[in-house]
């Protein structure tokens, strides 16, 4: 039985990308091998380690436990879409400042998982962060500095959101005034 390849088109980090792949191609291999986005890593084969975590339509998922064909049409963000060297995302900046990484292999997945956590719970306690990390494994750090990093990132992101809200509110007021 000949099995045809499928064209899979996704929006990754704001850019539309597509490639023809076997139906069995795992999303993580599609991202890494077909699209060249090697920031997402593979650490296990049983969906435990979470090194491959990305967001799909805003939700943290393990890209080793999803087929590329299942992602067709989805909005994907990988670590490459978080921030740049010169303009790090608060999560990246906090991991840097708090020494939340050592070898850096699990880090992209951990950060993406934590982006997913903060979406669910923007102001998590230490315990909630530790529970939120059930789906990732870091062998280097003992997690403590990751927890500090996530706490810091949550704070920065919350403040930024507040400012944003204020800005929006302000601009709305200005807009109304103009009427």
């Amino acid at each position: 039985m000949a099995i045809e390849n499928r064209k899979v088109t996704v929006t990754v980090n704001g850019q539309e990308r597509s490639a023809e792949v076997e139906p069995r191609k795992l999303l993580v291999h599609y991202l890494r091998d077909d699209l060249g986005l090697t920031g997402t890593h593979i650490g296990c084969d049983t969906s435990q380690c979470g090194a491959c975590t990305i967001t799909v339509n805003g939700d943290a998922v393990k890209s080793c436990t999803m087929l590329a064909v299942q992602a067709d049409g989805a909005e994907i963000m990988t670590v490459e879409g978080l921030g740049t060297r010169n303009e790090l995302h608060p999560m990246q900046q906090s991991f840097w400042e708090e020494h939340g990484l050592q070898c850096g292999y699990c880090t992209p997945g951990v950060m993406m998982a934590m982006i997913g956590l903060l979406k669910e719970n923007p102001n998590p306690s230490e315990e909630e962060i530790r529970e939120g990390m059930e789906g990732v494994i870091c062998r280097c750090t003992g997690y403590q500095f990751i927890v500090s990093a996530v706490q810091k990132a949550a704070k920065i992101m919350a403040e930024a959101n507040e400012k944003n809200d204020q800005k929006v509110a302000a601009s709305q007021l200005v807009g109304e005034g103009n009427l």
Binding site: E22, R24, K25, H29, R32, D33, G36, L37, T38, G39, T40, H41, I42, G43, C44, D45, T46, Q48, C49, A51, T78, V79, E80, L82, T84, R85, L88, Q92, F95, W96, E97, H99, L101, Q102, C103, G104, Y105, C106, T107, P108, M111, E126, E127, I129, R130, E131, M133, E134, V136, I137, C138, R139, C140, T141, G142, Y143, Q144, F145, I146, V147
Partner: protein
């Protein structure tokens, strides 16, 4: 930059890693690259009757299939690099693929090369191997028995080595008022870096150079060993360790797999990539520990310790790994007295072949086991004589005045002040009050346990003549070149091979202080045998104490030369030139100065150098330390045991470590946290489980529990600083202290909690069921 050393600087390596711009092995894509998979034995012990590869070769994607027979005579066995002397060491040859017999589940049987990652995996199912299954020897004490299945036919009783160090006269034991005896099993665990192993080979038929990217903690050892295995000149073999997702000892070893990939790339003339799968990692990457340790500690009722006698029966697996033979002998046997002044000691080690994956160094390598047995037996001794384990420790710790201290096994501890971190830790936990609370809670039926570990460990091996004397097939010196470019920017080459430790930052801090240049002007180069002449890599907490010292010395040499140039330009005597914050200044003559950058330009242009001076500003150093370094400290664990389920709840974990000079407190603390996590992992959750037939039952991350974030409390870590006299930095080592100290701290805490039930030992890991059973048995008694 002044005072970089000692500052908690953010790491230079992070922006790259945080943005997904790291370059790990699987990120490397080469034109025309092929993919390799290795068919591995499903049996612990079997004869290979027949291998049928035809079906696999029919696949249009399959380029080649190699079996052990195909490679006979073309590729040599992979040797061990630690041939411990005077122990009747018997090394069985490990061929990169098994030829007629497989000796452990995971032993390589065939190498498949295909043009596609998925097709390579498919081909694995197309190879048919006929085996004749043989009985297996699995656990070391059974494997030593007469009549046990032989892993290698010519090695009697499966004994790979029988090593002895030290003697305790029988009358010392007989005359002792107290002898406490216990047998501890330090179980087999898996290093489990989150990035598994990998290798990529690329052969250039024009230059006949083979480049091998592989997950190695020591690329130069890989080059040295693999050059021999593959029959290629070291000058034609380039080994590069790309970014690496952790190692923990598991990537020290020179593995058959790496030799295979190098061979196939050369044979096929195309790049070949091999990425180990996680479940493959469990059976094919070297494991750690697996030692049965029988201890007798002798002394008086007043707590004076007089002698320790230890027997270690170590499971070395089916073959001798790169460092395997040294772990349970040298690393372990010379450290059995720990931080205590025990005048007499002896250690006897049996290294045993079994039908299991080889064991090698894992974070601490021998020292966690040595620390485990002494710290555990100290507690049991204290219990026996009715003394608080703290008091017994205090009574026997090596005194500050005794350094340099020679232990009973002849090792010379470089420097120490063991009371200092102990006192600090006791103050943090408020020990006396804690004991009172424990007593109170015990009366309420709550099982609180307090565990102490006052450890010392050896690391930063040296000098090389000692390495030679203990059979290590390499040196233990380190190498660094500090190269100053015309602009004053600096490239530093170091022989260490970091994979998470942050050497680019800590070594950068050393150089920044020495040269007075900003951190951002310093680039570090590691892990490439073409860039760094020779080196011995990163393991055994040696990087800062040996590698960092080499960097410091090379930087000093740069300054020395620069000073001469400055003196020449400023028309002053060299003795009259000071150098501070990157400025050369004539003493007492303000304005008469040159910046480091100006001198860098002068040196490189060479328009006006002192008579007879060679151009350029660059220095190399080869540092061979005069002795090991011995970090020490105190860890205290406080736990509560759930009487009804045996679950262990962490209440607090306090550690005070003395690792000599702390270059960067942030990264040092990170090392302690990670080390503690791995030690506690061993104590509570991790452990290989083999069936009687030698099948690994805990062979996926669904069964083998790596510590997760929610398992831990906040670790309270701090340092004291007692400098080491054996290197110019005064540094010791921090990579392994956490693991070494924490295993017994946690175990002692749980045993203390279970003291009311008379429980003395439970085999690690302390799964709740085992703890519950111990309580049940205790209640029964």
């Amino acid at each position: 930059m002044a005072n970089a050393v000692g500052a908690p600087l953010k790491r230079k390596e992070d922006p790259r890693l945080l943005t997904g711009n790291g370059c790990f092995a699987d990120d490397i894509q080469l034109p025309g690259m092929l993919h390799a998979v290795i068919l591995r034995s499903p049996h612990a012990h079997a004869k290979i009757k027949k291998i049928n590869v035809e079906e696999a070769l029919k696949s249009p994607h399959v380029i080649a299939v190699y079996t052990g027979k195909d490679l006979e005579g073309k590729i040599g066995p992979v040797p061990s690099s630690w041939l411990v002397p005077d122990c009747n060491l018997k090394e069985a040859p490990q061929y990169p693929l098994a030829i007629d017999r497989v000796r452990y589940v995971g032993d390589g049987v065939a190498l498949i090369i295909a043009d596609d990652r998925y097709a390579a995996r498919d081909a694995l199912d197309l190879i048919d191997v006929e085996y004749e299954v043989l009985p297996a020897a699995v656990r070391q004490k059974e494997a030593m028995q007469k009549g046990a299945p032989l892993v290698h036919d010519d090695i009697e009783n499966n004994i790979a080595l029988h090593w002895k160090a030290g003697e305790v006269a029988e009358e010392i034991m007989e005359n002792a008022e107290v002898v406490v005896q216990e047998s501890f099993y330090v179980q087999r665990v898996f290093p489990s870096p989150i990035e598994t192993r990998a290798a990529i080979g690329q052969y250039n038929p024009g230059s006949e150079e083979l480049t091998l990217w592989c997950t190695s903690q020591n690329p130069h050892i890989h080059r040295m060993v693999l050059a021999g295995v593959l029959g290629i000149s070291e000058a034609k073999l380039r080994v590069i360790a790309p970014d690496m997702g952790g190692g923990f000892g598991g990537k020290i070893g020179v593995y058959p797999d790496e030799a295979l990939i190098g061979y196939a790339a050369r044979d096929l003339g195309r790049p070949v990539k091999w990425i180990e799968q996680r479940s493959e990692h469990f059976t094919s990457s070297n494991a750690g520990r697996d030692e049965v340790i029988d201890v007798e500690l002798a002394g008086n009722r007043d707590g004076t310790l007089t002698a320790i006698r230890v027997k270690n029966t170590a499971n070395l697996g089916a073959y001798l790994s790169t460092m395997g033979p040294g772990v349970s002998t040298i690393d372990f046997g010379l450290m059995i007295t720990g931080a205590y002044d025990i005048p007499h000691a002896s250690c006897e080690t049996f290294g045993v072949y079994t039908n299991t994956t080889p064991t090698d160094a894992y974070r601490g390598a021998g020292k966690p086991e040595a620390t485990y047995q002494i710290e555990r037996i100290i507690d049991l001794y204290a219990r026996e004589i009715g003394m608080d384990p703290l008091e017994l420790r205090k009574k026997n710790l090596v005194r500050k005045e005794a350094f340099p201290y020679t232990n009973a096994q002849g090792l010379v501890y470089d420097s120490g002040d063991y009371e200092k971190p102990l006192q600090k830790a006791l103050e943090i936990v408020n020990y006396e009050q804690l004991r009172q609370e424990q007593e109170k809670l015990r009366k309420q039926g709550k099982l609180i346990g307090i565990g102490l570990s006052t450890y010392v460990e050896l690391c930063g091996f040296g000098p090389s003549k000692v390495a030679g004397a203990i059979g290590f097939q390499g040196g233990v010196w380190e190498n660094s070149t500090v190269r100053v470019h015309p602009s004053g920017k600096v490239t530093v080459y170091s022989g260490t091979s970091p994979h998470g430790q942050g050497h680019a930052t800590t070594f950068g801090q050393i150089v920044a202080d020495k040269l007075g240049v900003p951190m951002e002007d310093i680039e570090l180069v590691f892990s490439d045998t073409k860039a760094i002449s020779m080196s011995w890599g990163t393991y055994g907490s040696r990087s800062t104490a040996v590698g960092g010292a080499a960097v410091a010395i090379a930087a000093d040499r740069v300054v020395e030369k620069a000073k001469k140039i400055a003196a020449h330009e400023l028309e002053a005597a060299v003795e009259d030139i000071t150098f501070e914050n990157g400025v050369f200044q004539v003493k007492g003559v303000p304005g008469q100065q040159r910046t480091f950058q100006e001198i860098a330009k002068s040196a490189n242009m060479a328009w006006n150098l002192p008579e007879g001076m060679e151009p350029s500003l660059e220095a190399q150093s080869f540092f061979d330390p005069e002795n090991f370094v011995y970090p020490f400290g105190t860890h205290i664990a406080i736990v509560e045991v759930d009487k009804e389920t045996g679950e262990i709840e962490w209440k607090r974990y306090v550690c005070v470590d003395d690792v000599g000079r702390v270059i960067n407190p942030l990264t040092a603390e990170g090392q302690v946290h990670g080390g503690v996590a791995q030690g506690v992992g061993q104590a509570l959750w991790e452990g290989a489980i083999y069936s009687k037939e030698g099948q690994l039952l805990s062979g996926t991350l669904m069964d083998y529990a790596l510590p997760k974030a929610r398992f831990f409390p906040h670790i309270e870590s701090s340092f004291t600083e007692t400098l080491s006299p054996v290197n110019p930095l005064g540094a010791k080592g921090v990579g392994e202290t956490g693991t070494t100290a924490s295993i017994p701290a946690v175990m002692n805490a749980v045993m203390d909690a279970l003291k009311p039930y008379g429980v003395k030992d439970i085999e690690m890991p302390l799964t709740p069921e085992k703890v519950w059973r111990a309580i049940q048995n205790g209640e029964g008694n």
